[in-house]
Subunit: 329 residues, 4 copies
């Protein structure tokens, strides 16, 4: 189909390039590097060739989230967002921006979010999972109370938050030791992001801020398949939902989350997702440059769903969610 | 339907009862305890009421796997299997046994497996995930080479191996810290078991022993939904399958694994699983006493699948896989 | 779910009662009769008990369509609509009307449609398939040019047209001779209505009047399952679409048709329909009093679809299509 | 996939060629004619190119069924079968035969069936819907008692009966008058064959001869989508199943029918069929030369189903049903 929007699509600054090197075999690194650095050239040709009208761009991973010194993280996010804003200005009809955020510090993250949305005209934020901070033994997840003012501001701004995967720190997931092939998109990305999303849902955040919209990729990082079990295991027991939030996890997943097709071009999986969350909460994406645009588009353009749903998932859902009809602020 | 077989169905010895206490709120513990201890009474009445002709019984979790002293683990497994054999002898038309195994030591596990199958007439083994051993800093997974003679013997015996969930050790999964609701069947069970299964598949074990059949519960612990992505992420890159095994993960999953419906009574999820692995590799199960038999059976008896597939999943697949027509040895 | 709307729901005038007698065995006729005559009593109790907030009511079948004298047909339609308007006025919060129309004559039908919509406040029309007229050897289908002014007026009024089944005349379908069980809802209804709908689609009517919305029941009278084949059989041949209309049949079916669940409470069939036309064009209905409301509602309230789609199909699609938020004119 | 079997694949004798001319626009007739006449040349190349190891061949339609003089019908069937037997003998590894039968007369049909199976080594029969006979005002369907000895012989021989479509006689289906595009594969084929199949199911034939296996094409001629409604319409009424047969229609459809993918290369439709009858009763077919082999094969080889089911539907089901491992008699 023509007119598609894709929204988990990455670029790199020179200084964040190496964050992506681990995800490609050496032989493929030159190609991946070239893809990451390019915005206005090959990317546009790929989009033209495969019916993608608009890309929402975001910095590669983990980038800002893995910068352990707060000031460095703040500056990197700022530089990345400024650079992206310039790129968007050159082709606002083809590119829009999602902000990188220094989530190591909720105030700094809030500040940069406001700046990116109100000054740079960004359409939302994309954050690469948990953050690391110098001296902190723990990975920083965003369900904790110190982050709630950040989420309140996000809700106020009315922009979505893309929770993008990253790998766990090695010390946090010894189950993968000796099995590096399980890291990254093969498996660890999904587990990491799904649990982060579940922590958000269980925290009560969406009771306090019901208008927040979180986007997760890869057809929901495995969550749709297990959504019923999460809420219904051991159903005869007296105590259910042993978390602070008030409602079932599925309620939040269906009202506060969108999922994208990035990197998961599987018809069966898409159908299952549609039967769990409905076509209104699914969005086309490729995950360029890690995944090929032709793989994404050729699959999606013919996948066995209703044409009305193809249009929604391919275009109109994103157009509404990111308010692409309104000029950037 | 009448004549169903259920195969992830647990009992407890007095000494393993407490392993299950953590999985029930205090108010429900008396009920859960009573269910676990009972075999010949209420269990049979539940089976009669809901069309289950046969249960393959197994010890509760983690039980043997969490006994850190090898000798204790060996003795516990032996006692549990002897007890189960007695129970099966009272109603071999309604119960058959799956062996508990001291996987802390491959030789000990092999020895007990042979004894359980050839002397006690058990139909296979059910192991509760990784094992712990005193003095070992690591959880013991079974994909490593020391376990291959065990797997060779399993293949030789021609009996299936049920890889049942357990929780990760707290130090191995800090992502759940402060979120105990994510442990157990809600989420952690699936992640733990799925990765263990993936490690087996990636190890090359099934190249060496292609006749091994592993059973996993809960409609595949999330794997069917992500199966395509595991094999197809970053498909343009030159290097795929960066693991010792020779084939795609999906090939092993489809030829060396069966999945059961235990604790995952969700139509959408079952349909997705069927479109990934086919009805011949899916088996009905309830996960009694953690899940209710009526919940499992009422769902399954009317779930929106072909009647031919209902018969396979409900009965005949298990009958073939566990050779229930042949008298126990 | 609460708040459902149901829209293929019938009543009878005393004089049309006998039209329905053929559809019930003698033993069930008293019950069917009582159901057909009742509007304000048992019907409301059934609606309350099963979460139906609103019913769009229509005259039973074939009624007006089988009255061979035009003047009689006109008068019957008028009487039925006046009676229904009175009933609606008693509970406009629970009932709204769909007009019976004397389609034997396009002008008469147009006149009664305008009256029903603008004077009686009806939400659309429901017509029982082809019409018969004294002296005409042919059944009258509505794709022919004399009916286009009628359709133009329908489009102008902005109300939907429910194409409801009836049986073929015996001389028109000898294939059922000696097999009366194939008549009615078992099979003949579907064939009759599907072909009538196809004739409308192939005629070019929807090229000329693209805003017309036709509703058909029983999950589309078999059309979704065959929709691809209709447009794609013998695809290599040079000549496709040998009908006056400009586009593919599927295009019209997806843009000019809605389907309801009336009398087809089958999960697999609903899923197939959703994957063909999408959840936005499917509407809950029971087909009372021929089908039980509890059968319809209990199935629909738990059918394996996304909750967002349940809400659409159960309520909001109908609310929009029939403009139930606006007061009747 | 390699090794596929296709079984609704037609050829023509010179004298039956014209029966197919009506199904192609004039511009395509030379191509269709060439395809029909060829067996050993282009057909094999198409099969090689698209992974079809074996075709079960049958005469084009309506051919024998439309020959009104019994003696002519008998002779045509005999000539066609003899010709086909010769063709099969040239490449028994690639072609096997399905017999044409003069169903105008049950005895003649039985005689030719026995001859074709026992002398020519045919694997079953393919009949083009109802038969016509000089002087008979009615189309001859095969559910009537005079045909039961034929069916008994078919059961005794253990070979399947392919009930292939044909168009209704114009006088029997005036609903298509003026809409010739609805004839043939677009719609009329399906209606004609579905009702014929339903008449067989309702007649009690399969109570008397439970081992009979009937094959129908085009993913079941619409039946799977409506199967539930056929048995469940008006479920509250006291009288169900008003036909001579003892069981539900769905029981016969699931135990006495196979369906093929001929001419219906639609993923959604296949999934629905699988959820109704299961993968064991679905068979790959193309409907060559009316449909392209590449269209059929390219769709089927990648359609979104489990690999185990692809193998069954593509090959092993047919191999079993037609006993392709046993040498022809
Ligand atoms: Zn990404
Ligand atoms: Zn269990
Ligand atoms: Zn009706
Ligand atoms: Zn054919």
């Amino acid at each position: 189909m023509q007119g598609k929007v894709a929204l988990e699509e990455h670029f790199a600054l020179t200084e964040t390039l190496w964050d992506s090197a681990r995800f490609a075999p050496e032989a493929d690194w030159p190609e991946l590097k070239a893809r990451l650095i390019d915005i206005q050239d090959r990317r546009l040709r790929e989009m033209d060739a495969h019916g993608i009208e608009m890309m929402l761009l975001s910095l590669n991973a983990p980038a800002v989230q893995a910068v352990p010194v707060l000031r460095d993280a703040i500056e990197l996010a700022r530089r990345a967002n400024d650079f992206l804003a310039e790129q968007v200005q050159r082709r606002p009809d083809r590119f829009q921006g999602l902000a990188a955020l220094p989530m190591q510090d909720p105030d700094a993250a809030t500040h940069e979010l406001v700046r990116a949305v109100t000054e740079l005209g960004f359409r939302g934020a994309l954050v690469n999972g948990f953050s690391e901070a110098h001296g902190l033994p723990r990975a920083i997840y965003y369900d904790t109370k110190p982050f709630w003012p950040f989420w309140a501001e996000l809700e106020r701004l009315g922009v979505p938050f893309y929770l993008h995967p990253r790998n766990p720190r090695p010390e946090d997931a010894p189950i993968y030791d000796g099995h590096p092939w399980l890291l990254g998109p093969t498996w660890a990305f999904g587990q990491e992001t799904a649990v982060h999303a579940l922590r958000l849902m269980g925290s009560g955040l969406f009771d306090a801020h019901p208008a927040i919209q979180v986007v997760i990729g890869h057809l929901g990082e495995g969550l749709p398949y297990s959504l019923w079990r999460i809420d219904n295991r051991n159903k005869w027991m007296s105590e259910q939902n042993r978390y602070p939030a008030k409602r079932k996890i599925a309620d939040y997943f269906r009202e506060n989350f969108y999922i994208t097709t990035s990197g998961n071009f599987r018809t069966q999986t898409l159908i299952d997702a549609m039967l769990e969350v409905g076509a209104d909460r699914i969005l086309f994406s490729a995950d360029w440059p890690f995944e090929n645009i032709d793989h994404a588009a050729q699959w999606f353009d013919t996948v066995a769903i209703a044409e009305a749903d193809r249009l929604k998932i391919g275009r109109t859902n994103a157009w509404s969610l990111f308010k692409l009809d309104t000029p950037a602020r």
